[in-house]
């Protein structure tokens, strides 16, 4: 039985894992870099050990230091969270060697799913659909036409050596295959000195939908339904929800079964996620498997009513899953917004700094998984995500309304955040109607970057607040009545400090 868990992570996920540990009566151990001495996970844990300087390579990715901390603390298990060492097969293997339980899959599953080609081959063998296409060089136009006919248009003819959009030709009709093949090939030889081209199915408006799975050490594998993750910027998810507006019960059952098959194919144990790409016509293809807890796991927890971290620890303890597939159902609708310290008006540039003031939203149907607090300095070394807001409602409409209310309540100063950007997404028609794919942010560029009108009265309020703040500040340092020539340095210091607020 696990009695003490070392959490090899930082930020909100470290705190989130420790919360479940506390509920289970398990002691938690934090590890921290020099940049994180003041961080919330260090304050929350029962024990904490320093593992190195700020750069991740020397601290949160330093296997020796983490194993050292585990031994010193006597932790019997390590939870890797997400990111950092969570999908590192060598780390999983090392924990085993040291007799420490790794809360996650074995090195075999991590390695197999970590390599795209091997994962693709394994999935094909297991009967899981992958994006159709060839990875071999096409011989001639005739072969190109045959394959295009097999997988169905639209297809992409791509240069093997390609990149940056060069040597790529989109084919919408079969009679275009010949000319597209010739052009792609000549472009490829000119640009890359290599005329190898291959064909892949083109998925016009891709949806990114993933399935949560849980697998125990007794051969039981179940899925906990889907999460819709199509709203992304820079290939990073921003908003996730479940159920997916695209889904229907039949497709859900089918994809869920496929996800379970995929997990079984690598003899998976623990919590994992199978990511699919889904077309508008509801054709779905395996994309990759994440062999860890996902950032967006709370929406599943809320709708299915399962604490995934508790289940991970229970599985690591060797317990069988406490429920069967037919015991699980989705209740209501849940949405997660990721709050990043970044500037959406400036190409989402990260914006680390000191939190001057923060008010997080509360109230019915809301979960707020964060780790920052007033006066905390967000370090420059790690991820810009500071909070996850998770709303729940009986219906999707209610979940959206609740999320809008939560975003309105969320006040943070000192760093720029994407809160207003998220509010605008909630107001976008495509989002409200649930008709969106991974092109959502580019397709709605204008609406998402438009600034809301601030009329003359609104402007005057801004002027007023700054003006009143300024004159109040001036009054508080005046009159500078010195009782004697020398004055008091301490008093001066106090007055100055009043002006230079935190």
């Amino acid at each position: 039985m696990i009695k003490k868990v070392l959490v090899a992570n930082r930020g909100e996920i470290a705190v989130r894992v420790m919360r479940s540990c506390r509920e289970m009566g398990i002691r938690s151990v934090a590890v921290y870099s020099d940049a994180d001495r003041n961080s919330m996970h260090v304050r929350y844990a029962d024990e904490a050990y320093r593992i190195g300087p700020p750069p991740s390579r020397e601290s949160y990715l330093n296997i020796e230091a983490i194993i050292g901390a585990a031994k010193k603390s006597g932790a019997d298990a390590i939870h890797p969270g997400y990111g950092f060492l969570s999908e590192n097969a060598a780390f999983s293997a090392r924990c085993r060697q040291e007799g420490i339980i790794f809360v996650g899959p074995d090195p075999y599953a991590i390695t197999t799913m970590g390599d795209k080609i091997i994962a693709r081959q394994t999935m094909i063998k297991a009967g899981v659909p992958v994006v159709p296409g060839t990875t071999e060089k096409l011989k001639d136009e005739q072969e190109a036409l045959e394959i295009a006919r097999q997988i169905g248009v639209p297809v992409m003819i791509k240069a093997s050596a390609g990149g940056g959009g060069k040597g790529m030709r989109l084919v919408k009709h079969l009679d275009e295959v010949g000319s597209a093949f010739r052009r792609a090939r000549s472009e490829a030889i000119n640009a890359f000195g290599d005329d190898s081209v291959y064909i892949e199915k083109y998925i016009e408006s891709p949806h990114h939908i993933e399935f949560q799975i849980l697998a125990d050490n007794h051969g039981n594998v179940i899925h906990l339904f889907e999460r819709e993750c199509s709203i992304q910027r820079r290939h990073q998810k921003v908003i996730e929800e479940t159920p997916s507006p695209l889904m229907n019960p039949e497709l859900r059952r089918e994809m869920g079964e496929t996800a379970v098959q995929a997990a079984k194919a690598v003899n998976y144990k623990g919590a994992g996620t199978i990511e699919f790409i889904v077309s508008d016509n509801l054709e779905y293809y395996f994309l990759e498997m994440n062999t860890r807890l996902q950032v967006e796991h709370p929406v599943t927890e809320r709708v299915v009513g399962v604490d995934l971290v508790k289940e991970q620890i229970s599985i690591a303890n060797g317990n069988p899953l406490p429920f069967r597939q037919e015991d699980l159902k989705q209740t209501g609708h849940s949405i997660q917004c990721r709050i990043y310290a970044e500037d959406p008006d400036n190409n989402f540039m990260p914006n680390p700094g000191v939190i001057k003031h923060i008010t997080e939203p509360h109230g019915l149907g809301l979960r707020c998984d964060g780790y920052v607090y007033e006066g905390y300095e967000i370090p420059i070394y790690y991820d810009p995500m500071i909070t996850k807001l998770i709303s729940w409602g009986e219906t999707r409409v209610e979940a959206i309304a609740r999320m809008k209310r939560a975003l309105y309540e969320y006040k943070i100063t000192g760093v720029k955040t994407n809160i207003k950007f998220l509010e605008k997404i909630m107001d976008t028609r495509d989002f409200i109607e649930g008709k969106y794919n991974t092109h959502f942010i580019e397709n709605n560029e204008a609406a998402l970057h438009a600034s809301r009108p601030c009329g003359i009265e609104c402007e005057d309020m801004a002027i007023m607040a700054a003006f009143i703040d300024y004159i109040t500040k001036m009054e508080s340092i005046q009159p500078p009545r010195y009782t004697d020539e020398l004055g008091s340095n301490w008093k001066d210091f106090g007055r100055k400090r009043n002006v230079l607020r935190l």
Binding site: P350, N351, H357, A466, L500
Partner: protein, 169 residues
């Protein structure tokens, strides 16, 4: 006493007519406002005007006279122009270094690379310095053809927001 307050490109005349605790009576560009204004939290003001409730957040800028002000709809740069600032700005006219000749980081970060050195001639679009923050690298590029006058940081240094990194000419 009337003040000049700059909000973005707008310049407003603001006069405090009366003040009793939270109760403030003032004039902004000829419009009279009778409001209840109170700092409810550090840097956050609640204003009640004509039954409307406004929340305004202030982030102090480089000096005590400069603010970044967030209203529900929009973010503004606000500057209070008093006699002192007027005097300083009139005195500095013609002396100040053109802003485009100063390379500063808008955010804290770590210097990853400086591919140029003092004395180098650079062309418009050429990368001067690469700063990394939160796993993302940002390149700072020359806006025009220039010469590097001085490099004030080195690779591996961490910089604060708005810290000057390089001077050009």
């Amino acid at each position: 006493m009337a003040y000049e307050v700059n909000l973005g490109h707008r310049s407003a005349n603001v006069e405090l007519l009366n003040r009793a605790g939270n109760h403030v009576f003032l004039d902004i560009d000829g419009r009279k406002y009778d409001v209840d204004i109170v700092m409810v939290e550090n840097g956050v003001y609640s204003i009640l005007y004509n039954g409307h409730s406004y929340n305004v957040e202030l982030i102090e800028g480089d000096s005590s006279k400069k603010y970044i002000v967030n209203t529900f709809a929009k973010t503004f740069n606000v500057e209070i122009v008093d006699a002192e600032s007027k005097y300083i700005s009139s005195r500095n006219k013609g002396l100040s270094v053109e802003e485009e000749n100063l390379v500063a980081s808008p955010m804290p970060g770590k210097i990853v690379k400086i591919p140029v050195k003092a004395g180098d001639k650079v062309i418009a679009g050429q990368t001067l310095i690469v700063v990394e923050a939160m796993k993302m690298q940002s390149e700072f590029k020359a806006s025009h053809d220039k010469t590097v006058l001085e490099v004030l940081v080195k690779e591996g240094d961490t910089v604060n927001a708005h810290q000057l990194m390089m001077k050009l000419e």
